[in-house]
Each structure stands twice: as C-alpha cells, then as structure tokens.
C-alpha cells in the first residue's frame, strides 16, 4: 500500500509542473492587465505607467518566468498585486474558511444523498422512490447562485433565521459559524446531493439484484444486515469515486457562493483575482487548488485500495 501511494504521489509531479506552466503562460495570453483595472477608464496614460512601474509589470517576460519558477521552488508564490500580501499567506488565510464550508456542505450532501438514495432504492417504483427522485431532480436542476438568493429571501428576509451574509469564525463563536455557513453550505450541497441520490439509488438497485444478496436473504439474515452490511459496502465504491469529484465541484462552486454570501474564502479570493487580473494570485491559487485536487484524487485511490480487496490482490500480483 505504501508503494502504491508513493507511486501515485510521484505521478503527480509532472502534472503539477504542467499546471504551473499553464498557469504562467495562460495569464499572459489574456488581454487586459492589472494596471488598467486598477486605474479604471478614467486613468490617464501617465497614471497607468505609474501603476505598472509600482507593480513591476514592466519587467520582460523571461525575467518574470525565471523569477516565477525560482520563487515557486522555494515555496514562494509571489505577492498579490491587489492585497499587497504574499499569495501563500492569502491562500493559507482563506483555505480554512472554504474548507470548513466545503466539509459542512459535503456532510449535508452525503447524509442527504446516501439516505434518500437508499430509501429510494429500497422502495423501488413506490411513492417514496418517486418523491426522492423528484427531490434529486429539483436539486440537480436548480443553479446554486439562484438557490443562494432564494435562501436569502426566504430564511433571512422573511423568516429572519439567518443573516444575509458575512462570516464568523468557528473559534470565535460556533453558533455564529453555523448561522453564517448553513445557507451557503445548503446552496452548495443541494445540486451535489441530487447527483449523489441518483448514483446511490441506481448502484443500490444494481447491487440488490446480485446473487449474493439473494443468498444472504435466503440464509435468513435480517434486511438491516443485508442492506447495511452486504449491499452498502459494495455501493460505497462508485460513491467514493463521486465524492472526490463532488469535493472539487464544491471548491469551484464556492466562487459564486462566497461572493453572494460575502464570505472571505478561497472562492471570493480567486473570483476577484481573476476579475482584477491579479496574476500572481491567480497563478498561486490555480497551482494550490490543482495540488489539493490531485491530493484528493490520490486519497480516493488509496481509499479504493483499502475498500476493495480485488485492487489489493491485483497490485500484489
């Protein structure tokens, strides 16, 4: 298992290199520089030149790429043009916020998706199945930015249960954290929960029709043991695959959700960095996000290894 993990980690290195090269190159192909955004339409030519000089945007390309990689290998992702702080610091500051909301959202997704998926499968073609399928369909069909606004209107403006936005750190007040993160987490989770419901339902239906389930039932095992132990263990494989994907979608979905809910996370950081052409921040963010997604995928692969004895045996061969 250690050998497997190491080989997967080594495979990640060329991928990360390609991502960094892409991050560096792409940003130069996009027209519009940070100076024009900062200066705005009313800035004079002299103003723009002054801004460019202040930011070091006038340096030649080869100098910029050399210093980019020299710094990258030293763990220095540069300095954000907008914030004036090191990119790494900005990312480290913001990551716990986004990660917290993503995990909260993932928990909602898993609980809602797995439970409704299983209930739907066990009540195949009955009313409960149809209700669960309908909810899943609604979840998949609603764009999360729209849902985010509807949640604000319903739960903030009309019912007054949650604030319209803002963020309170968990360490400051766990209740404040729950109040400020529940609506964003739900807005992010519903689409994914819908997907997970459908996948769980179809996988569960497939598993339930297998011979070994019939055998288990024939042996007189209780339905709880049949479903909870024998069926669920085999449903987990595709579900784990999807969970890796879901977490990456949650991270990217946070760009829109964090802007709407005024949350200073990684999503709003990246969104603003792109709109304001903050090159170092976009590059640093892209590399960090790519690295964390790669890491997640490796974790999922290792989880397979642990969950599925067949992979273990194959790799031993």
């Amino acid at each position: 298992m250690i050998g497997y993990t190491v080989s997967r980690l080594l495979q990640a290195i060329p991928i990360l290199f390609l991502v960094s090269l892409f991050a560096f190159g792409m940003i130069y192909l996009i027209p519009g520089d940070a100076a024009t955004v900062i200066g705005g339409p009313e800035a004079s030519a002299a103003d723009l030149e002054e801004i460019r000089q202040n930011m070091g945007l006038n340096e030649p390309f080869y100098l910029q790429i050399t210093s980019f990689y020299t710094n990258l290998f030293q763990g220095d992702l540069g300095k954000s043009l907008m914030l004036g702080t090191p990119v790494l610091d900005a990312i480290i500051d913001r990551t716990p916020i986004t990660l917290g909301i993503s995990i909260y959202s993932l928990s909602i997704t898993i609980i809602f998706g797995l439970v409704t998926g299983i209930i739907a499968a066990l009540n195949h073609n009955k009313l409960l199945d149809q209700i669960a399928t309908l909810f899943a369909l609604i979840g998949i069909s609603l764009p999360n930015f729209w849902l985010a606004l509807i949640l604000i209107v319903l739960f903030s403006v009309h019912l007054g249960w949650f604030p319209t936005g803002g963020y309170v750190a968990f360490s400051e007040s766990p209740i404040g954290w729950l109040k400020t993160t529940t609506m964003p987490a739900v807005a992010l989770a519903l689409l994914q929960a819908g997907l997970l419901t459908r996948i769980t339902r179809s996988t569960m239906l497939e598993v339930l029709s297998q011979d070994y389930i019939r055998t288990a039932r024939a042996k007189g095992l209780s339905e709880w043991v049949v479903v909870g132990q024998h069926a669920l263990a085999n449903v987990m494989m595709p579900v784990v695959t999807v969970l890796g994907l879901i977490l990456s979608v949650l991270l990217s979905g946070s760009i829109v959700i964090e802007v709407i809910y005024n949350i200073p996370g990684l999503g709003s950081l990246m969104g603003n960095a792109i709109l304001s052409r903050d090159f170092p921040l976009v590059q640093g963010g892209l590399i960090s996000i790519a690295a964390s997604l790669l890491f997640l995928n490796i974790v999922v692969d290792v989880l397979y290894f642990w969950l599925d004895p067949r992979i273990r045996i194959k790799s031993r061969d």
Binding site: E42, S44, D47, E50, N54, T164, Y261, N262, L275, R277
Partner: protein, 526 residues
C-alpha cells in the same frame, strides 16, 4: 457652497487663500452630534483592494480611507477646493511659492503630533509612488520653515495648481513620516481623520472606530464633501463588501446594514415602500462613449458626425440607467464653474436622415462599426444594444463586441484593437472641474486613440488655454471652445447623466449623499 462662491474660490489662488483665511474666523455654530454611540454598518458594492490611499484611484478604497486620512487641500460637496489639514495658504506675487499653514494641535492615530516634516515625507512618498504623481510635475521642491508651515515651490506658475493639488482621484493624504518611508501597500494605516483603522479583512469588511483626539478643521461649520468640520458621532463604522446586489439589498431590508450603496433601479420601488428604509439619489457620472480615430470607418470625420446625428441619447441613457438619468450633453454639471452650453446642438440629435446624408458624403462603404462593451455593467451593455439599433436604422453596418471588463478596457486603449466605439462613464473626470474633464481629449491622454497618439492640434491648443490661462474667466471661455470642438469633431459622444441611489435605514440621521460614502456627522437614533 453655491456657484458664486465657487467662482470666487476658483478665481485665483491668491483670492482663494484669502477666503480660506477669512473662513477660519467664522468658526461658530459648529455641528454637534445629537446622539453619540453605536456601530454604523455600511454595505458597499465593490471589493476594497487596499487602504493605501496614496497608491490607488479605486473609489472603493476612497470610500473608506478618506475617513481615516486627510489631505492639505480637498474638495467640498460642490467639488470646490477647500482647506483640510491646511487652514489657509498664501501665494507669492510671482505665483511660485505656496505657503500652507497647517491645522494646529493635530495628532496622528498613533498619538504622534503632526508636523510639516510628516507632510514633507508624505509628499516625498507621493512623488515616488503616488497614483497621480504627475500632479506634482510643476513642483520644484518643498520646504518646512517651521513645524506648522509647509511651502511648495513651483518650477513655473500654474494657474490651476490648487485644483490639481486638491484632486481626489488619488489624493495626497498625509501620514506619519515613518510610514511614508514604506512602499506600496506596506504602510500601517495611520492618518489624522475622525476615524482610525481597526481591522481589514479583504473580501469581507473594514472596521474603523472613532478617534477621540481628532481635531477638526475650523474653517466650516459642518462637513461638506471630503472636507469641512467632521465629527465622528458613532463609536465605530463597519464597511461590509457585499458585491452581490440582491444580497446587499436583502441586508438593508433586514436591517443588518444601515446604509447600502448602489441600489439598482429594479429594487427602488420595493425598497421605497418598506417601513424603515429611505432612499437618497445623486448624480453619479456622465454616460458617454468615444470613437477610435485609428480604425476605419471612425477615422472619418463625416462618419463620426453621422454617428452623432443618428443617436437618440435619451433612449440610450434610459436603457443604460433603467430610467434613472438626467439629460446632459455638457462635460460639466450646471452647478460647476466651468459649465458651458457650447456645442450642445450636436447632442441628442436623433436625426437618422441627417446621418444617412452624412454617410453618403463620407463615401461610407458599409464597413463594420464595432461597438465595444462589457456585460459586467448595464451602462455599457444596454447602451451598446440601443446604440447599435439606432445606428443600424441610420444605415450603419454594426457589430457588437462584448468582452469582460478588463479585456474591454485594455482593448479600448489599443489604437489597433478591434473596436470603433467604446462605452464608459466619466465620474471623477466630470466632477473635478474643467481641465480634468477635457484632459482625455488632448495629448498625451487622448481616449479616442488617434494615430501615434497625436490629437488634433486645434484641440491641444484649446486645452492648453483651459489649463494655463491666468484667470478663471479665460479658462472657462476656453473650456466652452474645447467642449464645442470635442462635440463637433466627435471626440466623444455624451448620452446623459446616470443617477446613483443609496438606501438607508430610517434610524440613520444626517446622511448626505456624496460621491464618497460619508460616515462623519451621521448618527444613529436609538
């Protein structure tokens, strides 16, 4: 301040110095906070990039930072220069020495007394890295004869020097000398204003609290624009960056915020009907556009004049603003000293027949006219859609190029870029007076990208007189000529003035709608 006063102030720097000195004598009946205490929460529509006020022209920064920092001279509500950290100034007979007398007893937020050495260090920093450092081009050096006197020595007399010095785009704010030695974005946020800095969480909020040792200027009885007699009535102010319009309006509706900027027209009716919410509107900026002089067919005067003839500015301004606009073709507001009606027969012509005739005269051969816009701003995209239909009706072959804002902005600065007409809003450009309003039509700042960046000699000659004529009368007359030239030769096409609306909770009192969010002299009724 009313127009006659504005004219007086602007008449000459020497006269202005006298008025400032006289103003300091009438320091009675000053504003007092009826209620003190509470936290004022303001929801602003843009992210605040930095609080280093000397280095950015971002309005979002100014909204916050101009409550922390102060400048020697600033602008009042009518955009006239008024003293702030200087109580008055004198100008030598040759117009080369400006002697500023500093407000006495002022301390920074860190408790250090402010002296001319801090002013000098702040000017040093601005000359090095300031966002509008070309404003100091006319200055040869500065001197500090004593702690309360600061002298600017000019290379040559400049009639509009005080206007330039007081521009608010990137104001020359004063900070402690030890901070002034630091680079872009590296300073600790320490000023002399009525509020001091507590916390800045990017993409979330900025928190300020009252500076108890604030010594206000005595030249006015209350605050006006960026200047005047400022008092912090609330204990603290929290600026929350809520960029999503729907969320910002919801926060106002639930009372989570006291003030919300940029209320969209679509929400106004609903918000106005709510108990506890009030709306305040003001003129925001001139919606306009300009052609590209380097690309066919807009390099042809007759084609440009045909565009101007075809345009129904009222329809465009209506669409650009959701009906919240005021017709205006002048590059100054009627309340401003430089206002002129010269050339306005070219504005809002709505005459497709004339346009067709001009196109025929121009030998127009159905070349595409590319309108460059962005969907990020309604004033850009909607204006482009309506203008496109108007031009088509007059016989133009129109193409729309819709890009994201940074790309559109960068393209519009490229003479060879794929564009013929670009949409913008001139806010500070129009507000800050004649020379700045026409700056974009003269070398080297031509917005209409003429070949080799050499604009028409006639316009440059007029602009030189707008900037450098000795008296205000001469400069105002030159401004009228410049506006006429710009409209007749279609260096730009104005559509109308867009309005901006702020929403506020009714417990907020003393609010004055201004281009910058004001949090001084505002109190919260319990």
């Amino acid at each position: 301040m009313k127009q006659p006063n504005a004219r007086l102030i602007l008449r000459s720097s020497i006269a202005a110095g006298l008025i400032f000195a006289a103003g300091s004598a009438s320091a009675e009946g000053q504003f007092e906070c009826p209620v003190v205490g509470g936290e004022l929460i303001v929801a602003v529509e843009s992210g605040i990039p930095t609080l280093d006020q000397q280095t950015t022209s971002a309005g979002a920064t100014r909204n916050v930072a101009m409550n922390i920092f102060e400048a020697l001279i600033t602008r009042d509500a009518d955009m006239n220069p008024v003293p702030d950290l200087a109580t008055s100034f004198d100008v030598s007979d040759d117009g080369l020495r400006y002697t500023f007398h500093l407000r006495e007893g002022v301390t920074f937020h860190n408790g250090k007394p402010m002296t001319s050495a801090d002013v000098a260090a702040s000017f040093d920093r601005y000359r090095e890295i300031g966002g509008n450092r070309s404003n100091l081009d006319a200055v040869e050096k500065w001197e500090m004869p004593d702690d309360n006197t600061f002298v600017l020595v000019l290379k040559h007399p400049q009639a509009t020097f005080i206007e330039n010095l007081s521009t608010y785009t990137v104001p020359i704010v004063i900070m402690p000398s030890e901070e002034a030695a630091k680079g872009v974005g590296e300073i600790d946020i320490i000023g002399t204003g009525p509020f001091k800095y507590v916390e800045f969480v990017p993409d979330s909020h900025v928190l300020l609290e009252r500076f108890d040792d604030y010594v206000p200027t005595a030249v006015m009885e209350t605050n006006s624009g960026f200047g005047g007699y400022k008092q912090a009535c609330v204990d603290s102010v929290r600026f929350r960056m809520i960029t999503e319009t729907g969320a910002r309006m919801a926060a106002l509706e639930t009372g989570e915020v006291h003030i919300a900027t940029a209320v969209p027209a679509i929400s106004k009716k609903r918000l106005a009907a709510l108990d506890g919410v009030e709306l305040a509107s003001r003129l925001q900026g001139l919606s306009m556009g300009y052609p590209n002089f380097s690309n066919a067919p807009t390099d042809n005067l007759k084609v440009r004049q045909a565009m101007a003839a075809a345009i129904n500015a009222e329809e465009i301004a209506d669409a650009a603003s959701d009906g919240e606009f005021q017709l205006q073709g002048a590059f100054q507001y009627p309340s401003q000293a430089y206002y002129s009606e010269a050339g306005l027969d070219m504005y809002n012509q709505n005459n497709p027949e004339k346009a067709r005739a001009l196109l025929k005269e121009a030998g127009y051969n159905n070349e595409p006219v590319i309108l460059l816009a962005t969907q990020q701003f309604q004033w850009s995209y909607n204006a482009a859609l309506v203008m496109s239909e108007q031009l088509k009706a007059a016989g133009f072959n129109v193409e729309l190029s819709v890009l994201d804002w940074p790309t559109a902005l960068a393209t519009s600065r490229d003479a060879d870029g794929a564009w013929n007409f670009f949409f913008t809003v001139w806010t500070s450009t129009v507000q800050q007076g004649g020379p700045i309003a026409l700056r974009g039509f003269a070398d080297p700042n031509n917005v209409f990208t003429p070949p080799n960046n050499k604009g028409p000699a006639e316009m440059n000659e007029i602009f030189d007189r707008v900037e450098n004529s000795a008296t205000l009368e001469e400069r105002v007359a030159a401004f009228g000529e410049g506006q006429k030239y710009a409209l007749e030769n279609v260096l730009g096409i104005p559509f109308g003035v867009l309005k901006s609306t702020e929403g506020l909770r009714s417990e907020v009192k003393g609010f004055k709608s201004f281009t910058n969010v004001q949090v001084s002299n505002i109190w919260i009724e319990q």
